[in-house]
């Protein structure tokens, strides 16, 4: 798993552990709260209608007809028959609310039931139920309601049935989609193997997970249903005189629109206020209940990571280095918490060199790599310190346009999952040509020729035909070859590869590793290679840096680190992986879990899990101390003697 995503996930977890109640979250949302207040007010008014000192809503008074608002005794005036509009408004709202809520409940009940059964049962049951639903959905929405009212005859109750029926498919489809997803989840199989019957699984395991979606769907449709029942009444097909709901009041008022506009404007305003308050509140409910919307998941990342540096290091004097990253710190700000995903990382690459960054998920290895070209999503991430010198330019200080020029030209990327990193709707040729023309304007035919060469370079057979293929038509290994071709499009000096083989099968992984190794020598490109696997590191990397909790704990030449690890964490990490050909080895395990990066301990972050821990490990900052050739370790009590004396 790429761990740029990991902070967000962990944050989600951390949040829900000590999460404020759903109601609190809802109340934090001003719009939703104001919606709730208005809605409550209207509901209370409607409920209290019988005890409020209002005149009889149906009492006609021809003498007082069409009084304007603020007339004496009639705050909102009177209608064409002299009835008090305020009183009719309150009673009408009562009817509209009752009808809207009942219709929602009926539609939700039957729709959800159909959706649950169809989604869970699958197969023939699903086909038959959903064909029926499709049939109902094949009618334009209101038209079916009209047809039903035409058949049953006008009337409030019939309008209610009609609106409920036409909304059943909406619920059924939504709930079915969710149920299908849940029914294939492993916990359903687990429940089955725990001896639960289908009924128990559907209503005991699946339903609790579907319930939030049912509530979201209800909260987003109830306003709509109130509008639609009002609509039928407006047409004279719903509430019949003398009974009035808001829609029929509006319908009555329409006939005298030009002479007494207030008679139609006021009930319309009431419908608007009611529906608007419900929608505001409903959006709030959705935001609280929808897991995707939590922790700002629908916030769009901007083009480049925000840089808010507290410290800007001096330019180092190493002429031979292609990339010199000094004291990088990258943080994620979520809610009130600060996640120090990367704190104080130094690393460098010489031309043509391959450096591996090894670590477990959450160690900050991907964030380090993605920080370089500003690809850490902002919000919530930002670079809070350090400098990255590439050919004498500080990547964190260059303009946005300069950064765009560098991306894909001097520095290119290969990401983890080649299916999700290629655009599904453009052909391979389109995407390759675009990578070329973004930096070197040329004719499309020329770019196509160049793209073909690139595919040949990554050993894809029949490259001309492959240009016209879409990513989903290629196998995983082929797609990753395309990604590598794209990274080579402009002869990049540095390729950042973020777990490029993790999603691939082992035989394909081996090919891709060989290919990358061969190409970097051919092209003399440096590679920053992110991985969690020491075996992969051995295959391609000249040097390696091991990360833990956002810091580099050890670095050195690959062979040196593997044969004599100095940091206890590195040692454990090597020992806990089974090695092919050594089946008898008892695996070392590291007890406990890494610290959460919003609550890092003082001193060494590994101290709690370390067998060599001593008191001094828990105080003060532990420096990365060099020893030997290109070696360094961040430990006070390292495993090897030379490191201790380094």
């Amino acid at each position: 798993m790429s761990d740029t995503a990991a902070p967000a996930m962990r944050i989600g977890k951390a949040r829900s552990a000590g999460r404020p109640s759903a109601l609190r979250l809802l109340l934090n949302n001003t719009l939703a709260t104001s919606g709730l207040v208005v809605l409550l007010l209207i509901v209370l008014l409607a409920l209290a209608a019988p005890v409020l000192p209002l005149p009889d809503p149906d009492m006609t008074a021809p003498a007082d007809r069409l009084l304007r608002p603020l007339a004496e005794g009639h705050l909102l005036g009177t209608d064409a028959l002299g009835r008090d509009i305020l009183s009719r408004l309150v009673w009408g709202a009562r009817v509209s609310l009752a009808v809207g809520i009942s219709a929602t409940l009926i539609a939700a009940f039957f729709g959800s039931l159909i959706g649950l059964v169809a989604g869970y049962a699958g197969g023939r049951v699903d086909t038959i139920l959903m064909r029926g639903i499709d049939m109902v959905m094949a009618f334009p929405y209101i038209l079916l309601a009209l047809a039903i009212v035409a058949a049953l005859g006008p009337g409030l109750l019939n309008a209610l049935y009609a609106i409920a029926v036409v909304n059943i498919p909406f619920f059924a489809r939504n709930i079915r989609g969710i149920t299908i997803g849940l029914s294939r989840r492993e916990f359903v199989d687990a429940a089955r193997l725990s001896g639960k019957s289908n009924m128990r699984i559907l209503f005991g395991e699946v339903l609790p997970n579907v319930l939030p979606i049912i509530i979201i769907t209800m909260s987003t449709t109830i306003g709509w249903m109130i509008l639609e029942t009002a609509g039928l009444s407006f047409l004279g097909l719903g509430a019949q005189p003398p009974q009035a709901d808001l829609g029929s009041m509006l319908g009555d008022g329409r006939k005298i629109l030009f002479t007494a506009p207030h008679v139609s404007i006021i009930p319309g305003l009431m419908i608007f206020a009611l529906v608007m308050s419900i929608n505001l509140f409903g959006d709030g409910v959705r935001d609280v209940l929808d897991p995707r919307l939590k922790s700002g998941a629908l916030t769009r990342p901007v083009a480049r990571t925000a840089v808010k540096r507290e410290n800007v290091p001096e330019k180092p004097a190493h002429e031979d280095r292609l990339l010199d990253l000094v004291d990088l710190s990258t943080q994620f700000h979520v809610g009130g918490d600060v996640y120090r995903a990367v704190s104080g990382v130094d690393l460098y690459l010489k031309g043509g060199e391959c450096l591996g960054i090894v670590g477990e998920s959450g160690s900050g290895k991907s964030v380090t790599a993605m920080s370089l070209m500003g690809l850490v999503p902002t919000p919530p991430g930002s670079i809070t310190g350090g400098a990255a010198w590439l050919n004498g330019e500080d990547l964190f200080a260059v303009s946005d346009e300069r950064m765009r020029q560098l991306r894909g030209a001097d520095v290119s990327h290969v990401f983890q999952d080649p299916l999700s990193t290629l655009h599904p709707l453009f052909t391979v040729g389109d995407q390759l040509a675009e990578a070329i023309t973004a930096h070197r304007p040329m004719k499309r035919s020329q770019a196509d020729g160049r793209a073909e060469d690139l595919l040949r370079l990554v050993r894809i057979t029949n490259p001309r035909a492959r240009l016209k293929a879409y990513p989903h038509e290629l196998s995983g290994g082929m797609r990753q070859r395309v990604c590598i071709a794209m990274a080579l499009a402009n002869d990049a000096r540095l390729i950042i590869a973020d777990e490029p083989t993790t999603a691939l099968d082992v035989t394909v992984q081996a090919q891709i590793l060989s290919l990358m190794d061969a190409l970097r020598r051919e092209k003399d490109a440096a590679i920053l290679f992110i991985t969690h696997d020491f075996g992969v590191v051995s295959a391609v990397c000249d040097r390696v840096a091991v990360m833990y909790a956002g810091r580099i704990v050890e670095t050195g030449r690959t062979q040196d680190v593997l044969s004599a690890p100095a940091h206890p964490y590195t040692g454990k990490l090597i020992d806990c992986v089974p090695v092919l050909g050594q089946p008898e080895r008892r695996l070392a395990s590291i007890e406990g879990r890494p610290p959460v990066v919003n609550k890092l301990p003082a001193g060494c972050a590994f101290a709690d899990r370390c067998p060599r821990v001593e008191a001094d490990c828990r105080t003060g900052d532990i420096p990365l101390s060099s020893f030997g050739e290109e070696r360094a370790v961040r430990c006070l009590h390292p495993l090897t003697r030379e490191a201790a004396h380094g």
Binding site: A190, G195, N209, L573
Partner: protein, 329 residues
């Protein structure tokens, strides 16, 4: 040699297929084809292969979550497929399953207590007191503190969640546990914890494992015997030591050569012509032929049967031109 506890005979599972309303043939995928295997009491059988080789389908067939379209599966002398249909709870008392994704296998809206009590209640019909005692035992067995019982799955790390998954499988005191990639979703340091617990539990409770994984080194470290699968069929099966020390099938060779090993630089060629065949349109004969350095026309003509190696009766290979020399690449 112990009696086979589980015998699989020419199992086949086809997805899709059949005919449409208009009588056209619908596409079919042979996920598992002609697979015969047995598992003896107390051993660990490792099943290894890459994605799409049918190993997970095979796992689901063994626990009765899926049914074979042909062939038989016998557990302790009884027809497992018939039992899964007639009395799934009886089967679940004896054969259990540990899932690949530890978090997805726990219902996010249930406490750990509710999840672990389900098998005790529905499979063993224990009363409240007996359940309490058993829960305590289970948590102890997988090395988790009992106060975790009243928490929800999202409060656990992947390793802890997988231990809960193991405890759930253990709850009904089964004889055979199918482990479907139990450690591949875990970080390497946690992977070792879980593998060690599994080993420990096997000794303590006399369990039999079918251990499915794509990771050769993990399979090698846990298995007594190994089956290598490719494209729905068994390519090679035999004692773990022999398979890893002297593989006979060219595919097993390729796998072993491809696995990244700390301290070894990559050796395989980087050419692209090495993809799986199209599952909807499988080639005739051996599915590995297109990638095989030893392939001949004979391999295209018919599919090679699993045959014993000379002098090694337990080691069987489905290849017309197996690698014969001892010692390996």
């Amino acid at each position: 040699m112990a009696e086979p506890l589980l015998e699989i005979d020419s199992a086949e599972r086809i997805f899709g297929g059949g005919r449409s309303l208009l009588g056209r043939k619908l596409p079919a995928v042979h996920a598992v084809q002609g697979v015969s295997l047995d598992v003896r009491k107390g051993e660990t059988l490792g099943v290894v292969g890459e994605s799409g080789c049918g190993k997970s389908t095979l796992a689901r067939l063994i626990v009765g979550l899926d049914k074979p379209t042909a062939g038989t599966i016998t557990f302790d002398g009884r027809d497992l497929v018939a039992e899964a249909r007639r009395d799934p709870q009886r089967l679940a008392r004896r054969v259990q399953y540990v899932f690949q994704d530890p978090v997805a296998s726990l219902n996010p809206r249930k406490t750990i207590r509710a999840i672990l009590e389900a098998p005790l209640r529905h499979l063993l019909a224990l009363d409240k007191k007996a359940r309490q005692a058993r829960l305590k035992e289970l948590m102890e067995a997988v090395n988790l503190a009992p106060e975790f019982l009243d928490r929800y799955p999202h409060e656990f790390s992947g390793g802890q969640a997988q231990r809960i998954g193991i405890a759930r499988a253990l709850a009904a005191d089964p004889e055979l546990i199918v482990l479907d990639e139990p450690v591949s979703a875990l970080d390497v340091s946690v992977q070792a914890q879980v593998l060690n617990i599994l080993d420990d539990l096997k000794q303590r409770f006399g369990l039999t494992y079918v251990f499915i994984s794509h990771d050769l080194s993990v399979v090698e470290s846990v298995s007594d015997r190994v089956a290598v699968m490719y494209f729905g069929r068994i390519a090679e099966t035999g004692p773990a030591r022999e398979i890893f020390a002297a593989p006979r099938h060219p595919y097993t060779h390729l796998l072993l050569k491809s696995a990244p090993v700390p301290g070894r630089r990559s050796l395989v060629p980087e050419d692209a012509n090495t993809e799986l065949p199209d599952p909807y349109d499988p080639p005739p004969g051996c599915a590995f032929h297109a990638r095989c350095p030893r392939g001949t026309d004979r391999c295209l003509a018919s599919h090679p049967p699993l045959e014993q190696a000379a002098g090694r009766p337990a080691h069987r290979t489905a290849c017309y031109h197996p690698v014969e020399e001892r010692g390996h690449a």
